[in-house]
């Protein structure tokens, strides 16, 4: 490849970001703008008996107030569970739920007006723990009336292939353990922010920190009852998402509504506490996992029972429920396989999708149990894993289609680099190594809103100035997708990246892309961008070959020049553009991506289907202070198979970021609930590791060259997080011989485990 593909390429917006020029949603100011603040529920579960707005309305500077019944149409990111309204209607389901919203001349006035709103509540029995939500209650007490069988269960997802229970029972050895995982949240830097503007032509413009502009457009249309074609959602520069900005949010709908009501621009910016309350993070989880193996170390079966605490609304919960189970089908061959996941509603802020969606906690459990089985068999845990790896080009028991697979190379790389064979099991007391592998989807093959359109469409425009503009709905939220689009287009057209510009994530200007979630963008949008730029190149070739009477197949593009090998043609890009556009002017080509038909014909078969899967193996080295229980992660070696690193710099960044984020969930991060509200909704008490806590990292990129990915690429944004946590847990065992079944692995838990062992 002669262009930027495969080269370490700084993000195209990097300078703007580090010099403070990049415009985030909060940076948009319009004259005559109003500011919105919310009145939130002080109750976990209560009927709203009365709302008295009279005092608030009288406050000078208040322009509009809205309450739940103004926006009663339910929505939810998954069309199968539209259980949420923009504000509480009739009852509140968690502390912090929005009950009323005030738009005023200043934030201060809006805030004060909220304090003047009087609400009478009648508390209802609350359900704060999933175990309570599993048992029967009266219809009046149910968090949502649609929960089945008089409980507060939201979803039971289960899939069984063959007879895993029996297989495990009949195995030479087996291991069953119960694990507990605290809830964690995304911790992105930029708080949620939205600016909405209702225009004179009765169109709505919404500039918002989102990962899913097109889904938001759809739900704005639904709840506000405005036709889709009148709504324009713009994603500006976004300061991180990790799944936490991938739902349509109440504040986005309310801010839009207030703009419509007042005919003025309205802005909403969350405080950090509101970001925490909004949550949508990883579900607190309890799971019991059983895995069997034969004497040779072959896995004979897997069976797991999982309860996840969904909080008060659905969000991505149905998908999460399935992902908890189905994504255990790799990277090991397991033919007897089954899981049941129960997602409960509780009176707490809702959980949703977070980096590594649904699969991070089960991965921890699986990799820890594999470690235990290897120990029981006196087998090296790397060897055990190697024996069980799925090959390339195969189907799993649940018919996930595996194509490229570099897991073995990943394992070999980290094993060698960490000097595993010499050091594992031979380190001084208190120091240890741990290994874990991972597996994740490269985009969900099925869209969450079923439709007949492609997953994504990209338009590429060429104009007289020689500039190429890519129009794509893809949402760059910091993962580098804008840069990826430019790299691909520059590569295909043989031009330098400065000639390519992007117009992205604007539902008026850019074709539909479903959003930045499930690690789909590089694979799907990358393919669409490639196909669109190839069409543009073909158009150039066609016109130039005709005008210059040269064989089309001999024309090449490189370094802003269009030429043939023998130099009978040797022109600049601009000359080529002039020929191509002669007599017709600017042209636009189009590329799209449709996922292949995949999967079986059973209920739930769609879950976990992806055109491709990423793999990884990570080893971590820890030291444990046996007197205090404090764990220090000294070094992590991470090898990730991303098919082909279109931008190695970005892939390294994703792997390093995953190590940091995984480290947080492993040893320090935890959403602590106190009667249904977070005790630690700030960055002092919610313990994201600092630079001083972050270990040395050694990153290896494995390129397995996926046959369907653009240039062989697949995902790198989520997969690398999975092995990080269990590699740490397993290293702690190597260091001090205690197994940690509860995350985060805080010093008090380690110390307790050490004491219990003695």
């Amino acid at each position: 490849m002669s262009g930027p593909i495969g080269k370490r390429t700084p993000y195209i917006e990097a300078v703007q970001k580090v010099t403070g020029q990049a415009q985030f949603a909060e940076d948009f100011h319009f004259s005559n703008m109003l500011y919105v603040k919310f009145l939130r529920s002080p109750h976990t579960h209560a009927k709203i008996q009365n709302i008295n707005l009279s005092k608030a309305k009288k406050l000078a500077g208040v322009c509009a107030i809205s309450i739940g019944r103004d926006l009663p149409i339910p929505f939810g990111v998954l069309p199968i569970s539209p259980d949420e309204t923009a504000m509480a209607v009739n009852k509140v389901r968690y502390i912090g739920e929005i009950v009323a919203a005030v738009a005023a001349e200043s934030e201060k006035i809006a805030h004060e007006a909220c304090s003047l709103i009087e609400v009478d509540y009648e508390p209802i029995r609350d359900f704060l723990e999933p175990d309570d939500s599993l048992i029967d209650c009266s219809p009046d007490e149910q968090i949502h009336s649609h929960s089945k069988n008089g409980t507060n269960v939201h979803k039971v997802a289960e899939l069984y292939f063959n007879d895993p229970k029996k297989a495990i029972q009949n195995s030479d050895i087996s291991c069953t353990r119960t694990f507990k995982f605290a809830g964690v949240t995304h911790g992105f830097t930029e708080p949620h922010a939205t600016v909405a503007q209702w225009n004179d032509d009765e169109t709505l413009k919404v500039i918002t920190a989102t990962q899913v502009p097109h889904y938001l457009q759809k739900y704005l249309s639904k709840v506000l009852e405005i036709p889709l074609h009148k709504i324009r959602v713009i994603k500006p520069v976004v300061g991180g998402g990790f799944g936490g900005k991938s739902d349509p949010f109440p504040h986005e709908i309310i801010t839009s509504y207030l703009s419509i009501k007042t005919h003025r621009p309205v802005k909403c910016v969350f405080t950090r506490e509101e970001v925490f309350i909004s949550n949508h993070g990883r579900h607190p989880t309890k799971m019991t996992l059983s895995v069997g193996a034969d004497k040779q170390g072959k896995i004979t079966g897997l069976d797991t029972d999982i309860v996840i605490d969904g909080g008060s609304y659905g969000s991505f919960g149905v998908v999460t429920s399935y992902y908890n189970g189905v994504l255990l089908q790799g990277p090991y061959r397991i033919n007897e396989f089954g899981f049941t996941t129960t997602r409960t509603y509780t009176n707490k802020p809702q959980c949703g999708a977070m980096r590594g969606h649904g699969a991070v906690n089960p991965r921890y459990a699986m990799e820890v149990i594999i470690d235990e089985l290897s120990h029981s068999l006196k087998m090296d845990p790397c060897d055990f894993r190697e024996k069980n790896f799925l090959p390339a080009n195969t189907l799993t028991v649940g018919q996930l289609r595996i194509t490229s697979n570099g897991v073995l190379d990943c394992l070999k790389a980290v094993r060698e680099k960490s000097a595993w064979d010499e050091r594992y099991g031979n380190m001084p007391d208190g120091r240890g190594l741990g290994i874990a592998c991972g597996f994740f989807i490269s985009g969900s093959a099925l869209p969450i809103n079923w439709n007949r359109y492609p997953q994504t469409v990209v338009h590429t425009k060429l104009d007289f100035d020689g500039r190429v503009v890519i129009f794509s709905g893809a949402s760059d939220i910091g993962q580098g997708s804008d840069t990826m689009l430019v790299q691909i287009t520059a590569e295909e057209l043989g031009i330098t990246m400065d000639r390519v510009q992007v117009e992205v994530a604007d539902t008026k200007l850019t074709p539909v892309d479903l959003g930045s979630y499930s690690s789909r963008v590089t694979f799907m949008v990358g393919n669409a961008a490639k196909s669109s730029s190839i069409k543009l190149r073909d158009e150039l070739i066609k016109t130039i070959s005709k005008e210059k009477n040269i064989k089309p197949e001999s024309i090449q593009f490189e370094n802003n020049r269009i030429f043939t090998e023998d130099k009978s043609l040797n022109m600049s890009w601009d000359e080529g553009v002039e020929i191509c556009l002669a007599g017709r002017g600017s042209i636009v080509t189009m590329g799209y991506y449709i996922s292949p038909q995949l999967g079986g014909k059973f209920k739930g078969s769609g879950a976990g289907l992806s055109p491709s899967y990423s793999f990884g193996a990570f080893i971590s080295e820890v030291s444990v202070d046996k007197k205090t229980g404090a764990v220090k992660v000294e070094k992590v070696w991470g090898a990730h198979d991303c098919g082909k690193a279109l931008n190695p710099l970005a892939v390294e960044g994703q792997i390093e970021g995953s190590i940091h984020m995984g480290l947080g969930q492993a040893i320090s991060e935890e959403l602590v609930y106190e009667n249904g509200q977070f005790l630690n909704s700030n960055f002092i008490d919610y313990k994201i590791p600092s630079t001083l806590d972050t270990p040395d990292m050694d990153v290896t990129i494995i390129e397995s060259d996926d046959k369907e990915g653009p240039y062989g690429a697949k995902e790198a944004g989520e997969g690398p997080i999975h092995p990080v946590l269990p590699a740490i847990g397993n290293a702690i065992f190597d260091a001090v011989r205690v197994r940690m079944y509860e995350l985060p692995i805080t010093p008090d838990k380690v110390l307790r485990a050490i004491k219990e062992k003695i």
Binding site: R40, P42, H43, I95, G96, T271, E273, K627, T628, G629, S668, V672, E674, N675, Q677, L679, N680, S681, I684, D685, K687, P689, S690, T691, L692, D693, T746, P747, D748, L751
Partner: protein
């Protein structure tokens, strides 16, 4: 927050005059502690008196016997001062354990000594506190930790205080009645609401005086992360002439705790038992109570091992 005036006196005398003439004022040093309190509506002053222009509060001076540190000296500045570094490495270690490098550029020594007591159930937003029914220290009737109405157990978290206790520091306070010099130990009350003493009559902490004398010191702070976190337990200890010792503990009680004695008169178990008795530790920190209590023993063990060498 609706503050009526923001005042910037140029001298301590000016500041005291402003304090006298402006009811419901707040002294503002680096502001790194109180700005959060203002934002969370835990304090609602009408006037802010910013001490940062007062040059006389920013001096570090030394002679053969002691070093005096102006209360408005930043934590960053004391960490970089050669005399302090040479004679009081303990102070440097304690200062560098506070907040982050950015916070230490603004945070002052005086502000740290007088940092407000903390509690998980109190250091929260207005809405959060409202949802739990608030607490004794705010506008409620009950302590949310003990579920009783008697006493507040919010924690003093000043890391410097632990160090200054064991260094036998003195503090100088200027007030409307001219001022006083007292041992730092006398600055604190074992009370989670009224945690400072001797600051009445608009008292301004102006100086900290550290006697220069020999001795070996030791410092350790318990926290989850290696930076940023407030203390869950800080222990500073000093052994000096003829095996005398002073140990300052903080983060585990309503005020810093001082334990003194002679190593020939008391053994480790005796010191641990004294520490346990002196600390009124309750479950109001992110780290579990049992663990924090256990760590008092573990840290004292570690200190003990260090002094045997």
């Amino acid at each position: 927050m609706s503050v009526k005036s923001y005042l910037k006196p140029q001298s301590v005398t000016d500041a005291l005059i402003m304090a006298k003439t402006h009811a419901n004022y707040l002294y503002f040093a680096g502001g790194t502690d109180i700005q959060v309190y203002l934002k969370q509506q835990l304090i609602k002053p009408d006037h802010i008196i910013d001490l940062s222009d007062i040059g006389e509060l920013q001096n570090i001076a030394s002679n053969d016997e002691n070093i005096s540190i102006g209360s408005m000296t930043t934590l960053d500045a004391i960490s970089k001062n050669n005399s302090i570094y040479k004679d009081f490495p303990l102070i440097v270690e304690a200062a560098q354990s506070i907040g982050t490098p950015v916070i230490r550029k603004t945070a002052t020594v005086g502000g740290n000594i007088l940092v407000n007591n903390r509690c998980n159930f109190y250091n929260q937003s207005f809405g959060w506190r409202q949802a739990i029914g608030s607490c004794l220290r705010d506008v409620g009737d009950l302590c949310q930790v003990t579920k009783t109405s008697g006493k507040c157990f919010s924690r003093n978290v000043s890391d410097l205080a632990a160090a200054l206790f064991c260094l036998d520091a003195k503090v100088i306070i200027s007030n409307q009645n001219e001022g006083l010099e007292l041992s730092i130990v006398d600055l604190y009350n074992q009370d989670g609401i009224d945690f400072h003493k001797h600051l009445d009559h608009d008292g301004i902490l102006t100086k900290i005086i550290l006697p220069i004398d020999a001795g070996s010191t030791w410092f350790k702070k318990l926290r989850i992360r290696n930076t940023l976190d407030f203390s869950s337990l800080t222990i500073a200890a000093k052994v000096y002439d003829n095996r005398n010792f002073r140990i300052g503990l903080n983060g585990v009680s309503m005020s810093p705790v001082l334990i003194t004695g002679n190593l020939d008169m008391i053994d480790l178990e005796g010191i641990k038992s004294l520490a346990r008795k002196s600390c009124k530790t309750v479950d109001n920190d992110m780290m579990p109570l049992k663990y924090r209590r256990e760590m008092i023993d573990v840290y004292l063990d570690q200190w003990w091992v260090s002094i045997q060498k």
